[in-house]
Symmetry: C2
Subunit: 314 residues, 2 copies
């Protein structure tokens, strides 16, 4: 850290103030809609050979840093109903890039008996509420960051929705070398995101493109009940959500398909309720949302002390 | 985890609901008093041979899990003024006991140009605000936990204050084998705490009894500008705060006194501003506060998924 890092740029100060007001607006939305705030554990048991988890020396054993509330959601909902958390999350990124933080905060919510559509509705209401709130509460900071207040006022429900098929078609039309059935990468999302002036959803991902724990569509078993929310203007994905698999046996089958050992994931499976209650949930990146709202070039500007691949100082 | 853990006791549900309302009340106090909410890093660089830190494998190096915002406070305050955070914190406890969590959340606040007295005032206002708020917002849950609403209504400012000398005198009078100059342990705090019916402060700790980074009193250099807040009814310490050392050279001197290598703490020293601004701050344990308010026997009941020494499942 150099002397110049001690005093931040005006830009970073404004971004941090907006981040704080954003979280306040998010909480007020959840409070109004009677979600109970929870905190899940940061240190979690064995994750086997999922290499994206950071390893912690926990007394004489290995433990890992959480990637979100999802494994704990069923227990929490069984006891508290609709829940949300705003908490840190961790991911070992492979590529040395300034595009991803290894430590970031997430807004997560889980809804018992919630459908995919419920999650879409919650996400768009929440983001619209935050944008509208910031127009009131953070006008000076937004203007100083050259974010036009009108951009945020124009964030209107319902957000546009496109399917994964639509996304692939747009990318292929515009000269991207992408085949149906592959994941959208950073550049793909960026390109799609440049077509929109407000946040938008991508739905109907094929099985295999999204995380294994989402349910297939009942009427279209090749697709998953999941949804990504992307910010416009080239910013890209800010949230993933959906309706997870509830049957324990089906989850075990899906783990095996993905070559994940159910034996090593005993801790995760023991958190699955026997008498399954369907639910849906999402995780939204606090720094991603801050980056879009504040028009920041780098994700690191959205964090007070960003942690990047190989870079942790101070 | 057994099946019976999946559905919590009514007691634990109530405690978790009260915990959520407690955090909401805390944030409303900070908002009203114009503190900016921040999030410091969870993963921090080398801490040398401080064995109370959990080690993380961070790519090809060792890193550690935070024990609080304090090292980052000066940078944050220089840029944002009065700050607070509600965030997880981690500590390797040596003794195998159910009295301490290894992972817990803290309410932390830091005030530029703040004195020790400012911290005392903030802590008592904050705790009184929380107690009063819960009487309104969580009456049903409190009653179900057999917490008399009147107990919380009687939490009045100013909180009683005793000095470390007073504490030692009371303990010696009551037959405890304790010498002046030693730290108060769990049993000592418990005994003192049984004498009070509302939270109370202990001040004027001798140098060596509190963490090295607190300033000595200007007029009484053998004592530190620090303060502990204890909950009554046998609950014990819920917060530590004070006025940290601001001169870099003095901090290095104090590190050497404690046999901490300033070379290994370069990351910490680089976060000290050259032109020192005095400040004060505190960290309050969320689970401790929950335990007292909810009259919980075990600290583990104050956490959704408690992490204890050697015990991390699920």
């Amino acid at each position: 850290m150099s002397d110049s890092d001690f005093v931040w740029s005006e830009r970073k100060r404004d971004a941090m103030k907006i981040r704080a007001k954003m979280l306040d607006a998010a909480r007020s939305w959840f409070k109004e809609h009677e979600f109970v705030e929870v905190q899940g554990p940061v240190i979690i048991p064995a994750v086997g050979d999922w290499p994206s988890y950071f390893e912690v020396k926990y007394f004489d054993r290995k433990a890992y840093l959480t990637q979100g509330l999802q494994p704990y959601a069923e227990v929490l909902m069984a006891n508290l109903g609709k829940i949300y958390t705003i908490a840190p999350s961790f991911r070992v990124e492979k590529a040395v890039t300034k595009r991803h933080l290894t430590e970031y905060w997430q807004i997560e919510a889980e809804v018992p008996n919630g459908s995919l559509n419920d999650i879409i509705t919650i996400e768009e209401q929440l983001v619209a509420h935050i944008c509208l709130g910031l127009c009131e509460e953070a006008r000076a900071e937004l203007e100083s960051l050259h974010r036009d207040i009108e951009d945020l006022k124009n964030v209107k429900i319902p957000f546009p929705r496109i399917s994964y098929d639509d996304a692939i078609r747009v990318l292929q039309r515009d000269g991207f070398d992408i085949q149906w059935g592959t994941k959208l990468d950073w550049e793909d999302e960026r390109h799609l995101s440049l077509q929109f002036s407000q946040p938008f959803f991508i739905t109907e991902f094929p099985v295999g493109v999204e995380t294994f724990f989402y349910q297939p569509y009942p009427e279209k078993p090749g697709l998953t009940c999941s949804v990504d929310l992307l910010a416009p203007e080239g910013c890209g994905e800010i949230s993933t959500g959906g309706q997870p698999v509830i049957e324990k046996e089906e989850l075990v089958r899906k783990m095996k398909d993905e070559r994940i050992s159910p034996e090593e994931q005993k801790w995760y499976l023991c958190l699955k309720e026997e008498s399954s209650t369907p639910y849906s949930g999402f995780a939204m990146g606090v720094e991603r949302l801050t980056q879009w709202i504040c028009k920041l070039e780098q994700i690191g500007e959205a964090s007070a002390f960003p942690r990047l691949v190989n870079d942790i100082y101070p």
